[in-house]
């Protein structure tokens, strides 16, 4: 298939057959297009997993409700969790890393453009495999059947004795394949940041976004590998007669837990560190001040990266480790709070004495700070191993990690989308719709996840498809569900805003926020080659230096 339209960089050709456009997108190795593909793919899965969450909440509105069967409910929470972590959270953050890192370090593309495309399509195949289970998981039996083992898939529930058919295999393959994609992207991010920086951009002059993504990518390399190994062991158990996790033949269920969480906990930081990166770029711009304590921010991130490798078994405080192991994982878990606290204080320090502009991206950043503070504090409670033996596996822990992943990651992603959408599309998102989206989402979020802590304190375990009346859980669950509907409406407004603004939004220009990093020095959307001539930087805020030649940053660093 050949395209006879010759594309000239920067020149819009209006009449192009849609097949050619599709062909260009499918075969692209441009980091910006791959970034957009990642983000679009992740937003699609956000909607899918959101619908799953809504069905879950409808089922839990009343005690003894029978909106869905227990089998369907178990598939819903498994698919919701797996989708949100692997096919929404990671891809959207990889998408932003892909789009922004080369622009911010003054490069024309990622270090390995073809590996980049390969990694994206592997991730896409992973998501496809997971949802293909709806059609193919029971194989010859004819009926579809999504995985129902929970997103952490504890052994021996995944053994063939308890999980016949192929649903667990689709889950395993989906994670295995997308895991290879994640490793490829991580290598690419590391290579780009270490080798592709423009002249003058020393490591200590890199935007924090690049630094934090460097740490994130390093963590992906270390954390995803054990998960990949465990998935292979599980496949060996299921098809080649292995007994790693097969407790009926002397295997160890606890071994799987260790493998899973040695991936699973760093994974939480893999998701949150890029969000810290968004905060560290957006808060300074809307406070009109440089980030407070840049070297400490870098050090704290690296510190989180290391310490978070030693906290995984705080997910296992109830599985019967001895008191020394429980104490060890309690102190490492609490210790992560120190560098995380430093970050929160430094963001506050950035706002302190600034001139804060409450544009929609900044509103989401402030909400992030508030919610992440609470998530961190409930995390300290869960790190206190003895206290955790009451809290974990209950709705309290569900509320805690949704506070982190929705109140933290998703809210930060909203901030990032409102902030960089003008760069990506050339159009501003509507501030009015954005504010409606922000406030509705905030109300829905707090109604849902603030109240969700309480049923957990009152003994409601997670992952139950229904519950007994009269335990003090009924009203709370009803309100939690109502909050979920409000969040869904907010998301609809967000989607509407993205679509309407794409066609009718104000033109963005190069630098709508009066910002300081290199991506704002070029047109919106950027040309395929990014920079006509490779920039040379002398400080952490090259555009500040340009705009304030009388008082450049380079004088103080």
């Amino acid at each position: 298939m050949s395209s006879n339209a010759i594309t000239v960089p920067g020149v819009q050709i209006d009449e192009k057959p849609w097949v050619d456009t599709l062909h260009e997108w499918v075969t692209t190795v441009d980091h910006k297009r791959l970034g957009v593909l990642y983000i679009g793919y992740a937003l699609l899965f956000l909607v899918v997993a959101g619908i799953e969450a809504i069905v879950i909440r409808i089922q839990l509105m009343y005690p003894h409700n029978d909106f869905v069967s227990p089998e369907v409910f178990n598939r819903l929470f498994t698919m919701h969790g797996t989708t949100m972590v692997f096919f929404m959270g990671m891809p959207i953050l990889f998408g932003f890393a892909n789009y922004l890192v080369p622009l911010m370090v003054g490069a024309r593309d990622m270090a390995f453009p073809r590996l980049n495309a390969f990694s994206f399509w592997l991730s896409a195949l992973g998501g496809f495999l997971l949802y293909f289970s709806l059609v193919g998981a029971n194989g010859l039996y004819g009926a579809g059947n999504a995985p129902d083992v929970g997103w952490w898939a504890y052994a021996p529930l995944t053994a063939r004795a308890f999980s016949p058919g192929h649903s667990t295999d689709y889950w395993t393959l989906a994670l295995l394949v997308s895991g290879f994609g994640s490793i490829g992207t991580a290598i690419n991010i590391i290579a780009t940041i270490l080798c592709m920086r423009c002249p003058g951009m020393k490591l200590n002059r890199m935007p924090l976004l690049a630094w934090l993504n460097l740490v994130m990518a390093g963590m992906v390399l270390i954390a995803v590998s054990p998960l990949t190994a465990a998935q292979m062991m599980l496949l060996i158990d299921r098809y080649l007669g292995g007994h790693f996790f097969d407790t009926q033949a002397g295997g160890s269920a606890v071994l799987w837990m260790h493998f899973f969480w040695i991936f699973g906990h760093p994974e939480v930081y893999i998701l949150i560190i890029p969000c810290f990166a968004f905060m560290s770029e957006i808060i300074p711009v809307f406070s009109r001040k440089p980030i407070f304590g840049y070297p400490v921010m870098v050090a704290a991130t690296v510190c989180i990266g290391f310490v978070s490798m030693s906290v995984w078994a705080h997910h296992m405080f109830t599985v019967g480790m001895n008191s020394y192991a429980n104490s060890f994982f309690a102190i490492t878990t609490m210790a992560v709070g120190v560098p995380t606290g430093i970050k929160i204080f430094n963001w506050l320090g950035t706002m302190w004495g600034g001139r804060i502009q409450f544009k929609v991206p900044m509103l989401f950043c402030i909400a992030f700070l508030f919610q992440f503070l609470i998530a961190g504090l409930t995390g300290i409670m869960l790190g206190s191993a003895a206290f955790a033996s009451q809290l974990s596996l209950s709705y309290f822990v569900v509320a805690h990690f949704h506070y982190t992943l929705v109140g933290g990651v998703i809210v930060a992603v909203f901030a990032a989308i409102y902030y960089w959408y003008p760069k990506i599309t050339g159009r501003m998102l509507s501030e009015t719709l954005g504010k409606w989206h922000f406030w509705l989402f905030l109300i829905g979020f707090h109604l849902t996840f603030d109240l969700m802590h309480f049923p957990g304190l009152l003994g409601m375990p997670r992952r139950i498809y229904t519950y007994e009346p009269g335990r003090g859980w009924d009203t709370l669950n009803m309100l939690v569900s109502i909050g979920a509907f409000i969040q869904a409406i907010a998301i609809l407004l967000f989607v509407a805003n993205m679509v309407i603004s794409y066609f009718k939004g104000d033109k963005a220009g190069n630098d709508p926020w009066d910002a300081w990093t290199l991506e704002w020095s070029i047109s919106s959307p950027p040309p395929a080659y990014n920079f006509a001539s490779i920039p040379v930087v002398a400080s952490r805020r090259p555009l500040w230096d340009l705009k304030h030649p009388e008082d450049p940053d380079s004088r103080y660093e």
């Binding site: 269920a253 003994g459 009346p469 003090g472």
Partner: protein, 353 residues
């Protein structure tokens, strides 16, 4: 830790009030009335030493995290209000401040100190709960998790029962704690009675233990906390804490073989000639299956199907006819008995006191 609890009792009642406000409307509308002595699950209403130690720790942790929250939240609100963009300052950039070593040191060192304090408080409770020695007069129970029910064995007393654990109340002066050995027959489960102790998982090939010494008699509710399969939700758990004499009576009655009642011989014949006995045991008869709950003293239990239904003749009949009507996904098959056989078996079951 005990003294600390007493000191915090007043503060606790505020939190409990909040919880009660949330829960009361629901409790009032509850379909089934709950006996006053029934302990609704609540981690802030401890009735046993492990739960009470954790409760004391939880108040300490809540207090410290509460203070941190107030401090940081105040700083955040202050910054947002005080440093907002106004018409007066709109045309010039604020002072560009890059950092401050002293301030950054302060907010590094203070959190480290807080972490050390929290860790020491936590480690103390971990040790007190997990490493408590088992006294010689302790009641020993082996709890075995099954998809989706609980088996309880009292090895020293020769009792096998299911789903409703009976333990004696423990007098603080002469404690008679109950020590549980936790096993699993299939997948992971978790034993959780919030008022009595934190949860501990039942993991196959990985024996665990836990203990409790309830301060008062009554029924304490909980349920399986670790996802174990289709009917994880209806793997409910009841602990009946009995007075000393009540417990002794219960033990004596459970040690008896099953009642042999000639008037229900037809039902017994159906029971023993169908697949029922592949899974169920009735002591003193040739029914000795081990996959399902022991039925020797079925009528001494208040619920069937691991708490999913009250133990009434109607529910029992429905359960035997088709367990999926009560608990879809239960591993007990519908036995396809004729109405006459069904009635006979139910009559037989009702004699198993």
């Amino acid at each position: 830790m005990q003294m600390q609890c007493a000191k915090h009792a007043n503060r606790m009642s505020i939190l409990q009030m909040v919880l009660v406000v949330f829960g009361s409307a629901a409790a009032a509308a509850a379909a089934e009335p709950i006996a006053p002595s029934t302990g609704l699950p609540n981690i802030f209403a401890p009735e046993s030493t492990p739960a009470r130690s954790i409760f004391g720790l939880s108040l300490f942790v809540l207090a410290i995290t509460g203070i941190i929250f107030i401090v940081v939240f105040t700083l955040l609100v202050y910054s947002v209000v005080k440093f907002r963009s106004t018409a007066a300052n709109a045309d010039r950039e604020p002072a560009q401040v890059y950092g401050s070593t002293q301030i950054e040191l302060a907010w590094t060192i203070i959190p480290i100190l807080i972490v050390v304090v929290l860790f020491l408080a936590t480690a103390r409770v971990i040790h007190a709960v997990q490493d408590a020695p088992q006294p010689p007069n302790a009641i020993e129970v082996t709890a075995i998790g099954h998809q989706y029910w609980w088996e309880f064995r009292y090895p020293k007393l020769g009792i096998v029962t299911a789903n409703e654990l009976h333990i004696p109340v423990s007098d603080p002066d002469h404690p008679t704690p109950t020590f549980l050995k936790l096993l699993s027959a299939d997948t992971d489960h978790s034993f959780w009675i919030p008022q009595l102790a934190g949860k501990t998982d039942l993991v196959p090939n990985h024996p665990n233990s836990m203990w409790m010494d309830p301060y008062r008699t009554g029924i304490f509710l909980g349920q399986c906390a670790q996802y174990c399969g289709v009917q994880h939700a209806k793997m409910l758990l009841r602990v009946s804490v009995d007075g000393r004499e009540d417990f002794a009576d219960w033990v004596r009655s459970q040690q008896q073989p099953a009642v042999q009642d000639a008037s229900v011989a037809a039902g017994r014949r159906v029971f023993e000639s169908t697949a029922c006995i592949n899974c169920h045991a009735v002591a003193g008869t040739n029914a000795n299956g081990r996959f399902g709950p022991d039925l020797t003293h079925l009528m001494s239990r208040a619920t069937i199907a691991s708490g999913a239904a009250p133990n009434t003749p109607e529910k029992l009949r429905l359960w035997i006819q088709d367990p999926n009507k009560i608990k879809p996904g239960s591993l007990m098959p519908a036995m396809q008995l004729s109405d006459a056989d069904l009635d006979a078996v139910v009559s037989y079951m009702e004699t198993l006191r």
